[in-house]
């Protein structure tokens, strides 16, 4: 590991000032469960590491009149234990519980999971399905982006030098959301395919539908054609099957060690159809 200077600011203002002064020479450490691997392997050789572990303002889950605000360094362990999330967005609790091990979840953060911008990040599809936004802050000010505009490519997101992700902002829950993860081990494996679905029924039709996919494109993505197939329409098995086919058509998976592209595409279709049916029938347990 190349030598670096470790900074441990105790508040957000100091952290932002440090990031502004150090510019692109600095990397941000939130939980460190991916960063330490990169430092050890030499894929990152920063002059400075700015650790956010002491910045209390960035950790925690709060409710306001618009919905929930999740601090970026809230750990996956915190998410799993949050009564607010259990009540309002159980799909996020479920997604967090599928990542790593108990030990890893003690350190890993929701913001880190998003900022690493892995196409397979498990927190991304359910957050996309919930219409989450992200708040990016720097010494120059703040900007709020829909999460779908945050991801730019594998490992790439919209953060500029000097900027950090401070909060994930969730509107009030509307409808039911689930996350289905397809991987080859029950624990300690990343998703070969992730599918998050939200259906908001109003009267006999869907007022809103979201189909969000992970690990099947350069970034976590929404399958908008599939959503349009559902919105304003009444539920039926045929409609769910058509939406599932559109989701499979919209993704652009690659072949890799985990699965070939054709397989991932097939799984997207199967999980989307299975998930939509389960949401509609109110089934809680669905196999990913």
């Amino acid at each position: 590991m190349r030598p670096f200077t470790h900074h441990a600011p105790s508040d957000l203002e100091t952290a932002l000032q440090l990031l502004s002064d150090l510019g692109s020479q600095a990397v941000i450490l939130a939980g460190g469960t991916d960063l330490l691997l990169n430092l050890r392997e030499g894929t990152l050789e920063p002059d400075s590491v700015v650790s956010l572990r002491q910045v209390a303002e960035l950790r925690g889950i709060h409710e306001d009149k618009h919905g929930l605000r999740i601090g970026a360094t809230t750990t996956l362990r915190d998410i799993i234990r949050s009564q607010l999330l259990h009540r309002q967005h159980p799909c996020l609790v479920h997604a967090a519980s599928l990542i790593g091990s108990v030990q890893v979840r003690s350190l890993a953060t929701i913001g880190g999971n998003l900022c690493n911008a892995a196409p397979s990040a498990d927190m991304a599809p359910p957050l996309l399905a919930l219409d989450a936004e992200v708040l990016l802050v720097s010494t120059k000010g703040k900007r709020q982006l829909p999460l779908q505009d945050f991801f730019r490519g594998p490992g790439e997101q919209a953060l500029q030098a000097g900027e950090l992700l401070s909060e994930i902002i969730l509107p009030h829950p509307q409808g039911e959301t689930i996350y289905l993860k397809h991987s080859f081990r029950a624990y300690m494996d990343i998703a070969a395919v992730g599918v998050a679905l939200r259906l908001h029924a109003n009267g006999g039709t869907f007022a809103a539908a979201r189909v969000a996919l992970g690990a099947v494109a350069p970034t976590p993505m929404r399958a908008k054609a599939a959503e349009q197939e559902l919105e304003g329409q009444a539920p039926s098995e045929d409609r769910f099957a058509r939406a599932a086919a559109l989701a499979a058509e919209a993704c652009t998976p690659i072949d890799d060690v985990r699965a070939p592209a054709w397989y991932r595409r097939r799984i997207v279709e199967i999980l989307t159809r299975r998930g939509l049916t389960a949401l509609w029938q109110g089934t809680e347990q669905v196999a990913g």
């Binding site: 030598p3 460190g32 469960t33 790593g100 091990s101 108990v102 030990q103 890893v104 624990y187």
Partner: protein, 155 residues
């Protein structure tokens, strides 16, 4: 490149000057000579280096020591007074949940963290708590059996 940190390990306070690249695992094994915490994969996958930080199980290989300022660390050496065994340790021996022993300190720390929080876990909860602790010898059955026996002992 150096920082100074103060932390408590197994009840004793230490103030150390450390290189910024040092992990908590390096510090425990090399500086403080608590070699019961094992270095397995050094990448957060195997659980052999599990310790408690402020009561929570963490992989000590994935934490920079510089980030452990003002924390309280418990390693396998600090679980019980010298010469005494925790019920989980006793049952691991009793039930044959130890073969080569390399994963054992991590398994013990994960199991104890679970029991501290949930004294009466189901087998499924025990399996989940230990999912991040790899063992290449036992096939896990006897480890799970031992932890479940420790639950009965204390119940």
């Amino acid at each position: 490149m150096k920082s100074q940190i103060t932390l408590t390990v197994n009840g004793e306070r230490h103030t150390l000057e450390i290189d910024s690249r040092r992990t908590l695992l390096d510090l425990l094994r090399n500086d403080l000579e608590f070699a019961g915490t094992h270095r397995g994969c050094d990448s957060g996958e195997c659980g052999a280096c599990t310790v408690h930080m402020n009561g929570i199980p963490v992989p000590s290989c994935m934490l920079l020591a510089a980030d452990c300022d003002n924390t309280e660390i418990l390693t396998v050496e600090g679980l019980q007074p010298e010469g005494d065994l925790h019920p989980v340790q006793r049952e691991l021996i009793e039930k044959g949940g130890i073969q080569c022993g390399f994963c054992t300190p991590g398994v013990v720390m994960s199991a104890v963290a679970l029991l501290d929080e949930n004294p009466n876990p189901s087998e499924a909860e025990v399996r989940e708590a230990l999912a991040g602790n790899l063992c290449r010898c036992t096939g896990y059955a006897k480890i799970i059996e031992a932890v479940m026996s420790a639950v009965e002992d204390s119940g």
